[in-house]
Subunit: 204 residues, 2 copies
């Protein structure tokens, strides 16, 4: 096997290190986070760090860096408290990836990509149209990770909208029924297929 120690990693060229370190934790979730600005401009940006934090109450978290690309998302969430998570399908990956570009704050990514927004169910933030899982969240808290200045945003799930065929009898959403993608590294998009579900594991 190839091996790299901490010193090797620190000495790598920036791009090589970014690609390597971003891919070694495995497949990542692909979420479009949509918000609105004070000027009612609808903003959307791709995040690969959205994580389940708990089910009761239903909580999610994601990592952001206020000084880099998704800073509009961060500011909008702090100002307006509401945001949405939208799963990305195979046909949306080109537009979804383009939202990672540094658009000026006054430009809506919805105007610069094939993505469309929709407001519904009286929710206070826009959803991404045609996303098979749309989740409305309210900002609860933020935690500064002092080791590198990133921020964990914690949100509570207030509304869940699901394409009917994804929901199984026991509550699971079978993601491959919606052609939902996952992310490999910084810029790779992968399409998973469910292999198997297992029973709740017990010692014997």
């Amino acid at each position: 096997m190839l091996n790299f120690n901490h010193e090797d990693i620190m000495k790598m060229s920036k791009i090589f290190r970014l690609n390597l370190i971003n891919s070694l934790t495995g497949y990542k979730s692909a979420n479009l986070i949509a918000t609105k600005t004070d000027e009612k401009i609808n903003n959307v940006a791709i995040f690969s760090s959205v994580t389940h934090l708990g089910s009761k109450p239903p909580l999610i978290g994601f990592i952001t860096r206020p000084t880099t690309v998704p800073r509009n998302t961060y500011e909008n969430i702090l100002n307006h408290k509401y945001f949405t998570l939208n799963q990305i399908t195979k046909t949306q990956i080109k537009s979804a990836h383009k939202t990672s570009a540094k658009f000026p704050k006054k430009i809506s990514e919805f105007d610069k990509t094939d993505l469309d927004y929709e407001f519904k169910n009286n929710f206070q933030a826009p959803f991404v149209k045609n996303s098979p899982i749309q989740v409305g969240c309210k900002f609860l808290n933020k935690y500064v990770i002092k080791e590198n200045g990133t921020i964990l945003i914690v949100g509570e799930i207030k509304l869940v909208l699901i394409k009917d065929e994804l929901l199984l009898e026991d509550g699971m959403l079978q993601l491959d029924k919606g052609n939902i993608v996952s992310i490999n590294g910084l810029d790779g998009y992968a399409l998973p297929k469910l292999i198997k579900r297992f029973l709740y594991a017990r010692p014997d």
Copy 2:
């Protein structure tokens, strides 16, 4: 589309809610985290919350709940500081899932599953044999998420071991070349295939 509001979610049966809330953030990374106890018993447990935090320095984070299943992992990391992340292949999913069972602390999951451990490169924690990406980490910090009592563990990457054929020229690890899986919900294992990589996105 089906819709559930916050009240609907809080009223759901426990299993239905667990399945739903665990699947709506999308595909999750599948990592076996291996540690050792004071009695030198090697412990391994599956985690679906490992997330990239930064590349320089190379940092990862994951969520744990000290009062539930992976508490052995949590205690071992606090006591010994070192742990490993190991990507899971298609052939390992049955054993990997079994590590989520509540084994007593004195029982090694390596004895109760088909998984084997290996020590190498003088690293202070065990790796999972035949994992195509093995990452040695050192504990740096923990953050209590007061909204639900979960804990974000932050670790620094000290050593990376990779099966040769996964590493691309620009540093990306192409996960599907190792048949690495991702997780759907609580108990679903999916096999992704890379569709496409995109260039670094710019506004136009």
